[in-house]
Symmetry: C2
Subunit: 354 residues, 2 copies
DNA sequence: ATATTGAATGCGAACGTTCGCCCGAACGCT
DNA sequence: AGCGTTCGGGCGAACGTTCGCATTCAATAT
């Protein structure tokens, strides 16, 4: 491996003190044009690159942003992880920052890993995701006064910078879409009450119904686990209701529940999209290849990643409005499962309500 | 934010020089029992944690492992990213290392990002994945003599440390399985010839046939893009062959192609799993919820992550056998699409050929 | 009694930067 | 001619560690 080139070697080559080289490179000094050129030339020929560890040492920062996430359960895949990481990494890189990814620990206290990274000065800030009510990470980081930005909200009374998807708006779009198709009996496959994201989507479902003058039928709201089995069983129960109470449309709170719902309907010989509308949430890439293709709500993850990093960087540079809170609108993707058309495999229509 | 505690403060508290504190903490010195206890007590009460930037500065290392990956195309999801990252991050953490994730650049020369990270001393080593023939990263890192481990092989003549899935073995398991069910006309939905992974899987397909005394029918090998559309169109062509040439089983080189194949078969009114066997590769979590559920090959990603990091760490500690090359066996997951049974949704049988 | 060991600890130096202060020279002004 | 101002650049210091060598003191061997 080539020996590292340092400031001093450049300085010798250019015949100046090494501190002057540093000044030139940081564009902050008043140096004559000639010496400046001489120095830059020496930098070129020697192939000098600043040692970031030494810079970090001097500047008392690491230029690293910590990020950790809960792994997806084995029967599911995290549909946004790839894009979120790429987006955040890209936004960070342009500012000279990088992402430090650390593993999620179920067993021990969650905040331990965060504390260690702070105590050892490894990171300058955090991005946290999958934020829940009374999230221990939020309270911990707030107590320590350590910079962080959340992807997702928490308790309304807690005030901290976040970026979140407007899940309520997304659900409202779905309701709107179904109502236009003539549906009035719209069921919801919801999550347990302790889910913050679930509550947000529920709000959208309810306000969507209200906005269209539809009264809520408690029997059409089923709370269950957000997986295939949950969607399957809940839908089975819905389809056993007396005809007059039975829903003509089912809104699942995520895609994998919708897939369970489709299976339940098909087992009863129903043609999804014709006899019964079913919608999902997340727009997992594969749902466009289901039979029928699934109507879902797509989250603008790239934008979330950009915003999260942008806010965090402004906090780190202390150029921030203290409590930036951003909501981004998702996008409704209408497909066969809610359209009542015959099945075609290559048509996907994008509808984005403004 | 609390003022940072340094070695010197601990030293003052314990009444020794700060270098002695360092020695105690690194367990390398001969210090008396009493002072050792006094120092450790001071460390406790002051809450001292070593500043990792300063350590890195002194030790001329960053304890960071660089990792970058090509994002999945928009209609697909990377089924292994989550688990691979968690596995690598976990393995790294136990050795005091962390993952530095940087974005993939399509436009510029791929190695630029790698070069920058090396030049600025940001990372101690790399993990690279999606390795192809004549991969520029391999040649670049070999030239620079910079530590790295690959997830995936490249040209056979290149010698570097890697961990790879034995894709050939996986495909052979599939052939074996299909032959036991009585299939003799087994088609392959393959990838373009420049794909290293594709070639590896093709080898397994061919040797699997040979091992069972089945001669290769060139008409049953179709090369196409590894996406839904590719699988759909290739399967359509296969199903238009004269009955005597038509395959009774189709092995797709990945899951999303298999999904396209299923669609093509269903459009012709075939019952997949009964009239025609179809298999995938990767065992993307969602394929267990397809109709019919999909037989696929599962890759032991957790193990890959552990091995990759373990090898890299041994290189960094110079305790390595120079060219560790590890193959891990995948696992065949048999489901309805190749079983010829009526459709049931909750039965998944695992078969792992030894 | 003196030389030889060994343990326990102190001390200087270095890793590669950045920052602020200082100093000399040149310049323009009264 | 004297004085303040600006420009160009040098220099010391510090960030918090770790490492190797020097030093002290007591114990043992000669």
């Amino acid at each position: 491996m080539a020996q590292r080139v340092t400031l001093k070697q450049v300085a010798v080559q250019a015949g100046v003190s090494y501190q002057t080289v540093s000044k030139v490179l940081n564009k902050q000094a008043q140096v004559s044009k000639e010496t400046k050129e001489r120095i830059l030339e020496a930098v070129q020929t020697l192939g000098y690159h600043p040692n970031s560890i030494a810079r970090n040492m001097r500047l008392q920062q690491s230029c690293l942003i910590g990020y950790s996430w809960a792994p997806a359960p084995p029967d599911q895949v995290n549909p946004i992880l790839d894009q979120l990481l790429q987006s955040m990494a890209q936004a960070a890189e342009t500012a000279g920052y990088h992402l430090l990814c650390f593993p999620h620990h179920f067993d021990q206290e969650t905040v331990t890993a965060y504390r260690d990274l702070i105590d050892t000065n490894r990171v300058d800030g955090f991005v946290i995701s999958s934020v829940e009510y009374d999230d221990p990470r939020v309270t911990f980081l707030q107590e320590r006064g350590f910079p962080f930005v959340a992807f997702g909200r928490s308790n309304p009374e807690l005030s901290f910078p976040f970026v979140d998807i407007d899940g309520a708006a997304g659900m409202q779009m779905v309701v709107e879409h179904l109502v236009r198709l003539g549906h009035r009996h719209i069921a919801a496959l919801a999550w347990p009450k302790d889910s913050r994201v679930g509550q947000n989507r529920m709000d959208g479902y309810l306000s969507g119904l209200a906005a269209n003058g539809i009264s809520v039928s408690p029997g059409l709201i089923l709370r269950c686990e957000g997986n295939f089995q949950g969607g399957l069983e809940a839908t089975s129960r819905l389809l056993e209701l007396p005809v007059i109470q039975r829903p003509t449309a089912i809104m699942a709170f995520n895609d994998v529940m919708a897939i369970g719902a489709i299976r339940a309907a098909q087992e009863r010989g129903l043609q999804v999209g014709v006899d019964l509308a079913i919608t999902g949430f997340d727009d997992t890439p594969m749902v466009q290849y289901l039979t029928p293709t699934l109507t879902s709500v797509r989250q603008p993850i790239w934008e979330v990643g950009q915003q999260v990093i942008s806010i965090l960087l402004s906090i780190l540079n202390e150029t921030s409005l203290p409590g930036a809170q951003v909501l981004v609108r998702p996008e409704l993707i209408v497909r066969e499962s809610s359209r009542g058309q015959s099945i075609q495999n290559d048509k996907t229509k994008l509808v984005n309500y403004p």
